[in-house]
Amino acid sequence: MAPILEIRDAVKIYSTAADEAPALGGVSFSVEPGEFVAIMGPSGSGKSTLMNIIGCLDRPTTGSYILDGVDVARMDEDQLAEIRATRIGFVFQSFNLLPRSTVMRNVILPMIYTRVPVGERETRASKALEAVGLDENRWYHKTNELSGGQMQRVAIARALVNDPAIILADEPTGNLDTRTGQVILETFRRLQQQGRTIVLITHEHDVAEYADRTVHLRDGLVVSHEEAEAHDSARSGEEAR
């Protein structure tokens, strides 16, 4: 089967740090549709950089990124926006919620760019918030009144609300206790069973165990691929570089 996303020889050099080692030093890696992939690696190894490229938020300095069989380099701003709005749900490492808006407004926000009918929005947002297990009495609070774990769940709910085919989560359980973390991971696994593709960054091995496959990064390079034995849904035919 054709990979849903494929990165070839991606190099990322941040212009402000041109004299330093590149954030990504030539990464190749691909994900099959319906796969659940974990990315691990020490801090500063380029995980978020790679994730931003996968999420069409950033472009590699050299190398290519092919999403759904189309080279992202050939897309214009509007096409990228369209993909970010409809194909990808992105959970940011630093949440990026609108602080002075309510939880509900934050979760509704992506739907104004996909033109979901006004009447449906609140229902869909409520479903997403229920899925991440956020207490209903928080839904109309401003997000700057929430705890870190609650913010994390709002950020995940926002990523799920447009029903994206690909969910990208940068340390989605970093701020959660083990039990809540498991609820979120179970949600991801359920989404995978419904056919979604999931890429998740984590530092924790027990989180990575939910994935079919783990990619290890170090200093901007892929150092190893590791198939999980616990799940047989992995279909990766990817070769390590």
Partner: protein, 410 residues
């Protein structure tokens, strides 16, 4: 992003930052209010002047010394044309015109600014020496006493008729002015009458006047037989044009001038005066509007400044919106809509404020103001225009932000 969302987002943003919105709007409020007010004052004055010219009678022709190009606006008793070099009108000209067919009334006058004094008071006002028929043509009524009589004019007597303001200027309240002696340029005159109040305009107070016989003025005050204005009333409105031509040819012949462009006098009809007056007041209105327009531009720059600050302040928000799928056009229209909305809110408040202030000024009686719907319409258009012009640059800047950089912005 749909229109509904655009409106909704704009409302949210404007209402969540109330202080900022208020300060942004303030510049526009002041700008628009002053434009509305200034144009109202200009147009009010225009209407006042036009009405007073029309009140002088539609069959009126005004002959003044000096060519059309020089001091043409000498009508209405003002006498700006009186001092024109060399060129002058005399009683001989008045007599010639009075023999023309179609003349109903003719009134010559000459005006000079003089010091009027009584023991203990002193005013400097315009003294009009009036010829026969002046009272009829100018429709002057007296409240007490009599006006200057034809006998006074023939005899050159030293009598004076005062306007009500001149009376209060000179005499203590309660004094009967009739029979009082006043000095004009040091010469003693007897007050024989007081005219009824005509009400003042801001430009010339029609009540601060004194009338004496023309002959007296010429003999004792100006020392010249020059006449500054001849008012001619035609018998019919239709006869105006031919009378105007007759007067011109008669005077040209009398003054031995063959080249009409070198005429040393001008004959103006009411419509000529009206158009001159409206040119002047129109320029005046435009000047006022231009001055207040500057404050509007300043208000617009204020909007741009505030929008740029907003874009910087909300960089992370913009980055997030782009990251979750906002297209550049969505961001542009969001910020543009915000700028336009602020401008329109400012415009509406400014229009109400300007309107209210004009009404207030009219109520105090100092000036007459007239708010025109045209000015209001233009103000609304200008507001939206300012929003677009000064909101576009910040909005474009916002839409071009790189999502990752914007999200990392502190």
């Amino acid at each position: 992003m749909s229109i509904y969302d655009l409106v909704h987002e704009t409302m949210l943003s404007v209402t969540t930052n109330k202080v900022r919105s208020f300060l942004t709007v303030l510049g526009i409020v002041v700008g628009i209010a002053s434009v509305i007010l200034m144009v109202a004052i200009g147009q009010g004055s225009q209407a006042t002047i036009t009405n007073s010219i029309k009140a002088a009678g539609s069959n009126l022709l005004v002959v003044t010394p000096g060519g059309r190009s020089a001091g043409a606006f000498g009508g209405g008793g003002g006498g700006f044309g009186g001092s024109n070099s060399g060129a002058k009108l005399t009683q001989a000209d008045v007599n010639l015109i009075s023999q023309l067919p179609g003349v109903a009334h003719i009134a010559a006058n000459s005006t000079s600014r003089e010091a009027l004094s009584v023991p203990g008071a002193n005013v400097n006002i315009s003294v009009t020496g009036v010829g026969d028929g002046y009272q009829t043509v100018k429709a002057i009524e007296t409240s007490t006493g009599v006006f200057v009589t034809p006998e006074d004019i023939r005899g050159g007597t030293k009598v004076v008729v005062l306007g009500p303001t001149a009376v209060t200027d000179l005499f203590p309240a309660g004094t009967d002015p009739l029979g009082q002696k006043i000095r004009i340029k040091g010469i003693l005159f007897t007050v024989v009458g007081v005219t009824k109040s005509k009400g003042g305009s801001s430009f010339m107070n029609a009540d601060e006047v004194a009338y004496i016989p023309l002959t007296t003025l010429q003999r004792y005050l100006t020392g010249s037989d020059a006449i500054s204005t001849i008012n001619v009333e035609a018998t019919t409105a239709e006869g105006m044009t031919s009378l105007q031509n007759d007067i011109t040819t008669t005077l040209l012949a009398a003054h031995h001038i063959t080249d009409t462009t070198k005429a040393d006098f001008s004959v103006l009809s009411q419509s000529d005066i009206l158009s001159t007056a409206s040119t002047i007041t129109g320029t005046f209105t435009l000047l006022l509007a231009a001055i207040s327009g500057i404050s509007l531009v300043v208000g617009g720059i204020g909007i741009m400044n505030m929008m740029l600050t907003t874009v910087t302040e909300r960089t992370r928000e913009i980055g997030l919106r782009k990251a979750i799928g906002a297209r550049p056009v969505d961001i542009t229209s969001q910020f543009l809509a915000e700028a336009i909305t602020l401008c329109l809110i400012g415009g509406v408040i400014g229009i109400s404020l300007g309107w209210g202030l004009s009404a207030l000024i009219t109520a105090t009686g100092v000036l007459t103001t007239e708010v025109s719907l045209g000015a209001v319409g233009i103000a609304v258009g200008v507001c939206a225009g300012i929003g677009i012009v000064f909101g576009y640059y910040p909005a474009r800047r916002a839409s071009k932000l790189d999502p990752i950089e914007a999200l990392r912005y502190q």
